[in-house]
């Protein structure tokens, strides 16, 4: 019966008994926290990318709204506007939108049938800007008024600023969320450590009486919870990455990806959380156990 046991190859078994139902609950909570943090990180990266994309698109172009004056046809006015801004420094291609295209853009607001054909609908002129040294809205304004064109320039800077502001808010929300999740993790680990110490009181007493220092016992709990947090954290992170991958694959064409353009490398964003979680679990378990052990006679 004992033939298998060889003292020469004996290695110490864990002093804290492994796994029970309580541990499973903890593992679930930690995995869920890591999952949420991982998803939030991926979402933050993706929406950051979306914002950057939108901003560079907006910043790379301007729109001129041209109104016809007197007997001039809208087409003629648009043509004069095109001539006025073409060749300015920092201006690339300039194109007047055809009436049909302009009507098409307005249709959603006014309705295609409701537009009388002789209504002097303003014409739109789109201006591609040199991405390195873009002409400003003021540059365009000056050129247009010099040419005597009645026009309004929209260089999209208002939208650009708005998107930037949204991005900052979003980043702060994400950071706040991470802080909250980490605080929850700390609280959960602290609670679990106190629980564990109480539940393992017999073992703690036996170790104390055998000459274990508080530090020795605290390190047992530190190692246990750091390991649990790393394992559960990894599970949660993998789940978050898998979920993001599924989102990317299923929403590949349109829809979600337009708002959240997830890149494959974003899937690595949850990677730090198991490590961070293990670190926090280690520190919290150690300090909680050390403090709690001081109360043990």
């Amino acid at each position: 019966m004992n033939g298998a046991f060889d003292p020469k190859r004996w290695w110490p078994a864990p002093l804290l008994p492994l796994g029970d139902a309580r541990d499973l609950t903890l593992l679930f909570v930690v995995a869920a926290l890591s999952f949420l943090a991982g998803l939030a990180a991926i979402a933050a990266l993706a929406s950051e990318r979306a914002a950057v994309g939108w901003r560079s698109e907006l910043a790379g172009s301007a729109t001129i709204i041209v109104r016809a004056q007197g007997a001039e046809t809208p087409d003629a006015a648009a043509l004069r506007a095109v001539v006025a801004v073409s060749g300015l420094r920092g201006v690339g291609e300039v194109r007047a939108l055809e009436k049909a295209k302009a009507d098409q853009l307005l249709a959603p607001w006014i309705g295609a049938d409701a537009l009388p054909s002789d209504l002097p609908v303003p014409r739109l002129v789109t201006v591609e800007l040199d991405p390195k040294t873009p002409a400003t809205g003021a540059d365009l304004d000056r050129a247009l008024s010099a040419a005597g064109v009645d026009a309004t320039v929209d260089d999209h800077s208002r939208w650009s600023a708005e998107i930037m502001r949204a991005g900052v808010i979003e980043r702060n929300v994400a950071l706040g969320l991470f802080a909250l999740l980490l605080a929850i993790l700390g609280a959960v680990i602290s609670f679990a450590t106190r629980q564990g110490l109480a539940a393992r009181r017999e073992i703690v007493d036996a170790l104390h009486l055998s000459g274990a220092t508080d530090g020795f016992i605290a390190r047992l709990f530190q190692a246990r919870f750091a390991r649990s947090a790393a394992q559960a954290g990894l599970a949660g992170a993998l789940l978050a990455a898998a979920m993001a991958a599924a989102l990317k694959l299923t929403g590949a064409g349109q829809g979600l990806t337009a708002l959240l353009p997830i890149a494959w490398r974003d899937l690595a964003a949850p990677a730090p959380f198991p490590v961070l979680g293990a670190l926090i679990a280690a520190v919290v378990a150690r300090t909680t156990a050390t403090a709690a052990l001081k109360e043990v006679p």
Binding site: M1, N2, A4, F5, P7, K8, W10, W11, P12, A13, L15, P17, E202, I203, D205, A206, L207, H208, L209, S210, G211, A212, T213, D214, F216, K294, P297
Partner: protein
């Protein structure tokens, strides 16, 4: 004073100096607000002594041992262990004193989730020694107490006598300077009781100071060793000593 200084001062108390290993001076002890369990206890165990602590159940034997192994604090009086006043011993220095004291608990206090081998190896492991440095000692000791073929067993699978011997092995693995045993023959038959007694005498012969709490008068008589007798929490000199058993 640093921890090292205290430890070396404690260590300096032995092994050869005739200084007392345990010294009680007018010690009293009560649990909470209960009446005193021990009253005005004074005695001294010199280096290398082998004493029994006798008395009826409830007379305070276990409590007296707990005071020595730092599981309880005296309510009054002065206790010195290895020449160190316990009232002045700081919490962080306690583990180092405990490592010099081996205890066989009345209720064993084995760790049920650890094998016999792991239980017996607890003290050197806690002291921070490398497994390779002590596993042969553990195997030898378990063989010596007759558990050579039970090393891998878990405590719940052991008989009372086996648990008793495992508890003794765990207490002596680090060759403690002071060995305390609380009713070490309480759970075994007479033959096993004698075997355990011989084991304790042998440990004493190789240098340990030994104090054994028991209400087994027969054991005391057979050993012929001196006795501290408790009666309702007070110490009284025990009348007479039996002839030596081991000579």
């Amino acid at each position: 004073m640093s921890r090292k200084a205290i430890v070396s001062e404690v260590s300096a108390a032995d092994p050869t100096s005739p200084q007392s290993i345990v010294r009680f001076e007018g010690v009293s002890m009560r649990y909470g607000r209960d009446p005193e369990v021990l009253t005005d206890i004074s005695f001294e165990l010199p280096q290398g002594a082998f004493y029994f602590l006798t008395g009826p159940s409830g007379s305070g034997k276990s409590t007296l041992l707990k005071l020595i192994y730092l599981a309880e604090r005296a309510s009054r009086g002065r206790i010195e262990i290895f020449g160190q006043d316990l009232a002045l011993l700081r919490r962080k220095d306690r583990p180092f004193m405990r490592r010099r004291i081996g205890v066989v608990f009345q209720e064993f206090r084995l760790l049920d989730h650890l094998s016999c081998f792991d239980n017996a190896a607890l003290a050197p492991r806690i002291a921070g020694r490398k497994p390779a440095a002590y596993r042969a000692d553990v195997a030898d000791l378990l063989a010596w107490v007759g558990l050579g073929d039970r090393m891998h067993a878990m405590p719940p699978a052991l008989s009372g006598g086996e648990k008793q011997r495992l508890a003794i092995a765990r207490a002596v693995i680090n060759r403690p300077d002071l060995l305390l045993a609380d009713e070490p023959t309480g759970n075994v038959d007479e033959a096993m009781g004698l075997r355990i007694l011989r084991l304790l005498l042998e440990l004493n012969r190789v240098g340990a100071t030994v104090l054994i709490a028991t209400h087994d008068k027969d054991l005391v008589v057979r050993s012929g060793k001196p006795v501290l007798h408790l009666e309702a929490g007070r110490l009284s000199p025990y009348p007479g000593q039996a002839p030596d058993l081991d000579e």
